[in-house]
């Protein structure tokens, strides 16, 4: 069975933030909540790289392990989703997640947390597929329409890939090989690649 994964190719990402914008627009995500973000390291220096980060849909998700009300579940496609009717907004998943994926809208005074929101791999939630209830709580359910996450679908450099982990692995491997091959054709070793 397919295991859905994201992969962001740091060699291709140009930090255009279109994935972030597309995600916010597609799911009507409220102000202050960002399911996806682009992080640039060594900004403006040699070796600058950008990565688009969202929920990584871990196989052994720390958020699911630590949740005091056990509101997470993994779909057959390996997508980690959560039930907002169960979530109590304690914030433990945010402390536990290595990638900073869980987000909390401000509910009341002192920024007390509302129910957690995170990337759903465009797969909605436990509600009926394509229902308005599901859309209000979790955003669009593209997976049920046979479509992949919008962030990856519209990535102009195809840096961000989403889909079956096996297929992504192949694409990634081919890219790496081609990069190595072109270096080989230049007749130089890796350290002397021009530019």
């Amino acid at each position: 069975m397919a295991r859905m994964k994201f992969y962001c190719d740091a060699e291709r990402c140009i930090e255009c933030n279109a994935c972030v914008t597309a995600c916010k627009n597609e799911h009507e995500i409220p102000w202050g909540v960002n399911r996806r973000r682009v992080v640039t390291i060594k900004d403006g220096e040699p070796g600058e790289r950008s990565l688009s980060v969202a929920c990584m849909h871990c196989s052994d998700a720390p958020c699911a392990a630590v949740c005091p009300v056990d509101c997470f579940y993994t779909t057959g496609d390996g997508i980690v989703l959560h039930d907002k009717d169960i979530c109590i907004g304690c914030g433990y998943c945010f402390y536990a997640c290595p990638f900073g994926a869980p987000q909390f809208p401000e509910a009341a005074a002192f920024s007390s947390r509302g129910k957690m929101d995170k990337c759903t791999f465009c797969a909605g939630g436990p509600e009926e597929d394509q229902s308005s209830d599901e859309y209000k709580k979790y955003g669009r359910n593209r997976i049920s329409e046979g479509k992949l996450p919008l962030c990856a679908e519209m990535c102009s450099t195809k840096a961000l890939l989403a889909g079956d982990g096996d297929v992504l692995s192949d694409i990634y491997r081919k890219r790496v090989i081609n990069r190595g091959a072109s270096a080989f054709e230049w007749g130089v070793n890796n350290s002397k690649i021009p530019g």
Binding site: V39, I41, M56, D70, C71, D166, L168, K174, F184
Partner: protein, 340 residues
């Protein structure tokens, strides 16, 4: 390079079907894992800049998060119920072996004022807030393992949500109550000469004889300072956890949580002992916090140095005086000096 050479022919002939030729076992690893491993282990900075504004949104990997989650699952969630059950078992065993610690010569009926109304209000306010916070806190800590199997996710979510909201609301009031406790009780709880002897004699738990003590004995003082110090640690860490609007990072949150949960479990465990000794464990003790008055024989037994003081100051009330003070004349004044 050798590897590249070997796989080069395959790569050049790349077609969409080509991936079927690769061994299945290898391809199941997410291609992202290499990249993230590099981010974490190489010299690359694990945080950068981002257009998204939020707490630590520039941090790519927070490795401490998983460590904190594992700590919570493997320690407090697993051992807190065991610790509390062991304490209860010890108390039950102690009661079975020793029974209620009585007073030699029984109760005299002659009373001494121990606590003012204000002091008792301060005590019971703190006590009730503590019990409420302990209960709601334990629901949040242990509910997933103990209560979800009983009630199911939906019902437990309601209970946990109510617990979380009320815990957050009542928490700050606990701090206020704790400060009132410092103001009204701290002076009498300063350690003094004779406290060490009390400790060396095992506080009277070992053997039958009562141990010399002042207004508060060494055990009570230690419990008091435990409440104040651990209570403050719990309150401060709780305030850090309850107000994420100051932009504190996840590591500070995780440390606060560890302080909060460890302090709470220790305090709840010891409070069980305090509740036991204040009620069924020792004859006459509950009166101090019920009416504010204690029997002079109880004072002689447990707080002999204070007993000397009250006798010198002539503060002991006869049964008749005590009854009159509380607006009820005893049916038979002769009986009052006898056993009650």
């Amino acid at each position: 390079m050798l590897v590249v050479l070997l796989v080069l022919p395959v790569a050049n002939a790349s077609t969409p079907q080509q991936h079927k030729d690769y061994p299945q076992g290898v391809s199941s690893i997410s291609p992202g894992s290499d990249l993230w491993r590099e981010v974490r282990q190489r010299d690359l900075p694990i945080s950068g800049i981002t257009q998204v504004q939020g707490v630590e949104s520039g941090v790519l990997i927070n490795a401490d998060g998983d460590r904190w989650a594992r700590f919570r699952i493997e320690n407090p969630v697993r051992y807190a119920p065991i610790v509390l059950l062991v304490v209860v078992a010890i108390l039950v065993l102690f009661y079975a072996l020793r029974g209620k610690v009585g007073i030699e010569g029984g109760l005299s009926g002659r009373m001494v004022k121990r606590f003012t109304d204000y002091e008792r209000v301060v005590h019971w306010t703190l006590a009730l807030l503590f019990l409420f916070l302990a209960l709601t806190g334990l629901i949040l800590l242990l509910g997933r393992t103990l209560l979800i199997p009983l009630f199911g996710h939906q019902v437990f979510s309601l209970l946990a949500s109510a617990s979380k909201e009320s815990h957050n609301l009542v928490g700050p009031i606990f701090l206020v109550s704790l400060i009132m406790m410092v103001v009204s009780f701290a002076r009498r709880n300063i350690y003094e000469k004779g406290d060490l002897t009390w400790l060396l004699k095992g506080g009277g738990f070992i053997g039958k004889s009562h141990v010399s003590g002042g207004f508060f004995n060494m055990g009570e003082k230690s419990w008091y300072w435990m409440v104040i110090l651990i209570g403050l640690a719990i309150s401060i860490s709780g305030l850090i956890l309850v107000s994420p609007n100051f932009g504190q990072g996840r590591v500070i949150m995780a440390i606060s949580h560890v302080v909060h949960v460890l302090g709470a479990v220790i305090l709840i465990a010891v409070s069980l002992g305090h509740m036991y000794m204040g009620s069924i464990g020792t004859e006459g003790s509950i009166e101090a916090m019920k009416s504010g008055y204690v029997d002079i024989n109880w004072v002689e037994a447990h707080h002999d140095r204070w007993a000397q003081q009250v006798k010198e100051n002539d503060e002991v009330l006869t049964a008749e005086e005590f009854a009159r003070l509380h607006g009820r004349i005893p049916e038979s004044t002769d009986n009052a000096t006898g056993q009650s």
